[in-house]
Symmetry: C2
Subunit: 326 residues, 2 copies
DNA sequence: CTGAAAGCGCTAACAT
DNA sequence: ATGTTAGCGCTTTCAG
């Protein structure tokens, strides 16, 4: 690998001139410019970005901490972020946290040590204090963290849309199925929106809480039981997560229950899966979220100010699982 | 951010000693070791990996070029690679090529300039010569490139399994649906395996070729037409790609054709989607592929020799779309 | 076991 | 417009 010095020698100039050629070409005369270009060509010279970073203290690398790209939503998010980064001349250092808080912390440290210019965080961390005083631009996706700009989908609105859709499709006993409440502001907002709209339309607000294990193992008996409850025979389900919705549909199908005949079902995320299964869902504008996260982060890197909270609209995708004609 | 010099000053030693502490702690005495550790702690010192890389000429960064993490298979691959990298003390610079050859080339250049230690390539490039003489360890995933070690799934075997499954499930007029032939060795091997097994079992080998546009737009008329062909009324379809299989299933369903009643269907990839749709598929061991790619690449980085071609077994996942009782 | 000093490849004053 | 030179933060001989 040839260095800037090799190029300088070959072109009979000093390294500074070659450096200028790289950074402010207008400051070097036509004639030497040609000589340098020729030398670069002949030596197949490519500037060493590491060395450059060491001098400039800018790596043009953005670190991304994301739970797991093999989950459709996160895969799409990673892709959107990567694509936006590339468009803006940034590279992407990808870290998979697997939702593990310890890993997340050590990855933050790693990214700091690697002098990334900024970090996009899709945090699962319970303890957001950890990020509070890190001296590096951070943007959070779909998680609210004090003092850190965030971009999220309008989860409240999503909840509203889901409630309205269930009720519009004729449900009289709708229910929301949720995780055990944590610090996830997004889930809370979904639930709040759902509640708000139920009450506004004169319906009861009912919630079924499942543990992560129950979701993972598809133990949905609590739900099918609720459908048989004479006091409140659940006939409409908003379950916050597309894969959960898919799993639930299968669970019910095995018990002879079909949408929209026996119950209405709507998920949350807007992944392709739902299209194949003909399930309604609330769509998260994941590509836009990724792009916005990158845009804001770059602004922060460039010392511009950015809004503390950005909300992108959720939208309803209606399919047969919430169709009236049942 | 404190530097090695700050630590040295505070601990009353020279920078070299601190550096030794970092790299070969056994070479520094207990007493100074303590002082240095204390100083590091007090200053919250973290070595600058960029500077380190510049000296050592090792970044411990691996570049990955992959079409698009939002596609389930590639998302899973990226995740597997990331995870293996992390386990081995490497970081991952992610590049999304979108199957664009020009982008791929420029990303290669970028990775070279950033001095990554090695590259994992999931190439879509038509012209593999481009990689021939790059002075950096490369491992290719699921693509055969001259002079570059590759890891792939046993596509021939996959084709064999698919053919056998269709025939076992009672098909008399099986067919393989494929892309227009390109340089993709993997597709070729799938087709060869399929052909081999068909002929071995005394069946005709028939192929339907679709363009990328036809796949993308779900224009599968050629297939449904073939099902009505009196000479060879297709009753079993091996379509190389899970999403294609899913799209085809839907396409057929809209025309009143259902698996396994009217035709048998088997896909290729082994994604979760197929589980929800109850479609048989040939499973690609994607996590193992990613892990092996990383393992081989690291060996090459460490100047060890590695096999030129590694093949991991494909396996059949049987579901109702190829069940006999139709 | 520790220190001094050169150097990794590039940038950025400062000078000319 | 170009050259000189001092770093960026760390590693690594080479001495002592």
């Amino acid at each position: 690998m040839s260095t800037i010095r090799d190029v300088a020698n070959r072109a009979n100039v000093c390294v500074a001139t070659v450096s200028r050629m790289l950074n402010k070409p207008e400051m070097v005369s036509q004639s030497t410019r040609k000589r340098i270009l020729a030398a670069m060509e002949e030596l197949n010279y490519h500037p060493n970005e590491m060395a450059r970073s060491l001098s400039t203290k800018r790596t043009h690398i953005i670190g991304v901490i994301i739970p797991n790209t093999s989950l459709p939503l996160f895969g799409a998010l990673a892709d959107a972020i990567e694509s936006s980064c590339a468009d803006n001349g940034y590279k992407l250092l990808l870290c998979g946290s697997r939702g593990n808080a310890d890993k997340e912390s050590s990855m933050m440290a790693m990214l700091l040590a690697n002098k990334v210019d900024g970090i996009i965080l899709c945090a699962s961390l319970r303890n957001p204090d950890a990020y509070m005083n890190i001296d590096l631009p951070i943007v959070s996706v779909d998680r609210i963290i004090p003092n850190i700009p965030s971009v999220s989908c309008d989860n409240f609105k999503g909840g509203v849309l889901a409630a309205r859709e269930l009720i519009d499709s004729g449900c009289r006993y709708p229910v929301i199925v949720n995780n055990v409440p944590g610090t996830q502001t997004t889930a809370i907002m979904r639930s709040k929106g759902y509640k708000y709209e139920c009450e506004r339309l004169g319906y009861e607000y009912r919630e079924i809480i499942l543990t992560n294990e129950q979701f993972f193992d598809c133990e949905f008996d609590a739900i099918t039981d609720a459908m048989k409850n004479p006091d409140y025979p659940v006939d409409g389900i908003f379950i916050t997560g597309d894969t959960h919705a898919a799993n639930l549909k299968r669970f019910c199908a095995r018990r002879g229950l079909e949408t929209p005949r026996d119950y209405k079902l709507i998920g949350f995320d807007g992944t392709d899966l739902m299209d194949y299964l003909d399930l309604s869902t609330i769509s998260v504008p994941i590509v836009e979220l990724g792009a916005l996260a990158v845009e804001l982060l770059i602004k922060r890197i460039e010392k511009q100010s950015v809004p503390e909270r950005s909300l992108l609209p959720a939208s309803l995708i209606r399919r047969s699982s919430t169709s009236k004609d049942a």
